[in-house]
């Protein structure tokens, strides 16, 4: 069982972190993982994307041609990658930043006003964790508890308030994702 995922958005939206938290948790749960970011000038202000592969088998290519899941936090990400989603695959996107959306009907589209929800939770910083929660709710690719543990050890001392908001965002995302599961 292999899940290939691309997360894309503007630099600074935290798309690389989505892939990283999922890869790390999946690794801890005994899966094989790879995390391959785009890098270079485009990270600064332009678009950023990361290919993450989670598999029960050894991973051959870390490069994803046809993702099972695409997370698009802005319209250019849909324009660039949505055509390559495997038929039957999942597109998770941020309607606040993707005015044109995606026309494909052979994929499952999870359109979420992520900016609005993040604002409700209290910080735009948690937008990427909201997206992560949606992925988990839809695919069960990792357990919530693993991610919670990692975030807690990472943030508990440094910023307990942000930790609480992140966990709330993930839980909210999982609820949304489950509606499509």
């Amino acid at each position: 069982m292999t899940t290939e995922m691309i997360c894309a958005g503007f630099g600074g939206q935290g798309v690389l972190t989505i892939g990283k938290f999922i890869a790390q948790a999946a690794m801890q749960e005994g899966k094989n993982v790879s995390w391959l970011p785009s890098y270079g000038p485009e990270m600064r202000g332009g678009t950023a994307n990361v290919s993450t592969v989670v598999s029960t088998e050894p991973i051959a290519s870390p490069i994803v041609s046809f993702p099972d899941v695409l997370v698009a936090l802005n319209q250019p990400s849909i324009d660039k990658f949505a055509h390559s989603i495997r038929p039957g695959g999942v597109l998770i996107y941020n309607t606040n930043m993707c005015p044109r959306g995606c026309q494909r009907e052979d994929i499952i589209q999870i359109a979420v006003p992520m900016n609005e929800i993040a604002s409700e939770i209290g910080s735009m910083i948690v937008l990427n964790m909201l997206a992560t929660g949606i992925i988990i709710g839809k695919t069960n690719i990792i357990k919530y508890e693993t991610l919670e543990g990692n975030l807690t050890s990472f943030l508990k001392e440094k910023n307990p308030d942000l930790l609480a908001k992140n966990l709330a965002a993930i839980q909210r995302g999982i609820e949304i994702g489950k509606q499509y599961a």
Partner: protein, 359 residues
Amino acid sequence: MSKILMKGNEAIAEAAIRSGCRLYFAYPITPQSELIEYMAKMMPKVNGTFIQAESEVAAINMVYGAAGSGKRVMTSSSSPGISLKMEGISYIAGAELPCVIVNVQRGGPGLGDIQPAQGDYFQATKGGGHGDYRLIVLAPSSVQEFADMASEAFDLADKYRNPVMILADGMLGQMMEPVEFKPAKTDAELQELANQHLSWCICPNADGDKKHHHEINSLELDPQVLEKHVLDLYKKYAEIEKNEARYETYNVSDDNEVLCVAWGTASRVVKSAINEVMKEGKSVGLIRPIRVWPYPYDAIKQAIGKNVKKVYVFELNSGQMVEDVKIAVEGKVPVDFWGKLGGVVFTPAEIKEKLETCF
């Protein structure tokens, strides 16, 4: 020891320190900067030396000095910086000093770009610097292998008193994968490492009565003497060729109709493509040289079964390895090549398409 999710650039740095490397000299360049940054952070914690040199040229000459002092020393760079280091690498090979050089390749020629490429194959395996010499060249394809190659590289360098290059690329440097490290060398092991070269290296003279004059040198103006020195180097290289070729086979069998040859991260894309075409009932094998010098000629020769119609080479360059593959194939079957250039990385879908044309 549990697995850690780590970038290739960081994993090789950590593994080098665990292998007993306490001296590291380098100059920043993308896409290997995480390596120099990791060393800057960690070397002081193990009482090691980290210097951000004024140039790649200075860095490799610091390596020459430290290697001539018999200590485990490493430098790293990316393609344009490795070109600058080539002067020093030739001197290090000529003076027979052990050291490790990591090249996290990017697109060229010239300043090129900063995306993953394999365009330094000729430079690494056929020379690069001036004169007759060889580097031992290790070509990792995963973060775990990148890390494992640190101790392997230092051991080979010490054993043969020869510079060893780890030829990675920007993809491997930047990507994260789980990595499990070998235990760090113990103090006793470090002491043993420190003593292994005392018979020839720059070191304090413990026996005050006996004069001590070790020369670290690659100069010899008498052509007859220099020729003998180079012949001796080539005896050593012949020994290395006999003992040290390494390769991986993937899906190689007598049923293969196509045999692929690919190295480094490119080989992983080819594996994914092979997995796909196998589902269509076609038989394709892959030989991956784990070391690109010495080159596994025999392995490729032996892998050509009776059904192989074509050997297909895939690289992220203009086909620099094809010559070596052709030497191995000895004209028995056609050798074809397809690749991407300038830092463009091929996808499994593209390779699959190429393979399907073979049937």
